[in-house]
Symmetry: C2
Subunit: 246 residues, 2 copies
């Protein structure tokens, strides 16, 4: 069996997230069906992470095993010809047998986009979170500095999946203003459930002065979810990049 | 009767353009119905231009006359509460009686977004035109210089609406690379039917070397539509701003 790795972009608006589900259309199922119609095999696609409903990806990675003899780079076009327009394979390649989209992953980068103006947006309604209050970028950046590093992120996760450890290393947390938007870029070796959305929700509270930038440190140390800010909605979140050593 | 001016943003994907039509859902009709459900009056909204199906706007302007006594700035929220999410009123204000969204207009700016990479995009499928060939930005910029100024733009229009004159003044034609996208910004005192889309289509031909940048001048002087490039598709086009002296 050959092991094929796919790099995928998707608009998550119309899907119930990555993971196959009984009563809703998932990205995994849609992709697997498209692959099946190419190779004739019933395959299982292993994703790099479970993304929630409404979350997008510019660089999602998955892999699947196949007996098909299609040249590695030709899967891209073949699968794209069967996929709906809101999912697209950007790259296909054959990888070593033990490459696993989730277990082989050593890091990920997510972006979160906040539209920061008085009125919402029709064009960005599915790709940004509208937040109308004035934000102090400098306070948010100072708050963000406490997040960077290796910490127990228990205060920044929602329950929903079991993990062995709640310690993660955030290597980057950048905030940039781009026109009327604020873009958060977060890189880590791994993320807990809703971790990015709670980090952003907490930093927005810092931005409006409800939480001081110094308090972010204490929230982190408390390990208490109730001290952190709310999870911001899914549509602002996008999986930008997944890293592998393999 | 009061004259109310609205500044509107919309995602044109699911509409048959601005103008009311018999067998398709238009932006005009959708907006007029929302206003009617607020004021109780059957009104007619006058748009600054007819945008084609699939074309977007961040700063479309229209006006309507009403007997309603709602404070001028409150129309925004009231109408938004009735509109679908792909149309949003950004601003509402009362203007002088003879303000007319189309006739009072002295200039407009459109953007056109080209996604210039090998594979298309799921997230930008409705807001950019995917063009995979390598483009020479400098040639395109030199070609664009010939477009700027006052010219007869007969070679850069499709038939579809009658006009008194085909002379227009293009005051700005900028090309910028933004990541994997190329953004065209075009300002003029007015535009002929499909003019921006033909300008972009012609400059893309310059970018791949099918038309030289000097030839743009001759195409313009010829007044012959068949010499110019094709009209690029609607989804890359966005009405950014409309200017008034009134």
């Amino acid at each position: 069996m050959r092991n094929i790795k796919l790099l995928i972009e998707y608009d998550g608006t119309n899907y119930a997230g990555w993971q196959r589900q009984k009563n809703a259309i998932s990205l995994q199922q849609t992709l697997e069906n498209s692959i099946k119609s190419i190779t004739g095999e019933k395959i299982e696609a292993t994703g790099c992470s479970r993304t929630d409903s409404g979350v997008h990806a510019k660089g999602f990675v998955c892999n699947f095993y196949t007996c098909s003899t299609i040249p590695e780079d030709k899967y891209r076009e073949a699968i794209n010809s069967k996929l709906p327009q809101d999912i697209i394979v950007l790259k296909s390649e054959e990888v070593v047998q033990d490459f696993h989209a989730r277990y082989s992953c050593v890091g990920k980068t997510y972006s979160y986009t906040v539209l920061n103006r008085e009125v919402g947006s029709a064009l960005m309604r599915n790709t940004a979170y509208h937040y109308k209050y004035k934000l102090d970028m400098e306070s948010m950046r100072r708050g963000a500095e406490h997040i960077i590093g290796t910490h127990d992120f228990s205060a920044f996760r929602n329950l929903g999946s079991s993990v062995k450890t709640t310690v993660r290393t955030v290597t980057k947390l950048d905030l940039q203003r781009e026109g009327q938007c604020i873009k958060f870029l977060v890189s880590a070796d791994g993320f807990l459930y809703n971790m990015v959305r709670i980090i952003v929700g907490t930093l927005l509270q810092v931005g409006i002065g409800k939480i001081s930038s110094e308090e972010v440190k204490f929230i982190l140390e408390s390990g208490d979810r109730s001290f952190a800010g709310p999870s911001v909605p899914p549509q602002g979140l996008c999986l930008e990049e997944v890293n592998y050593n393999i």
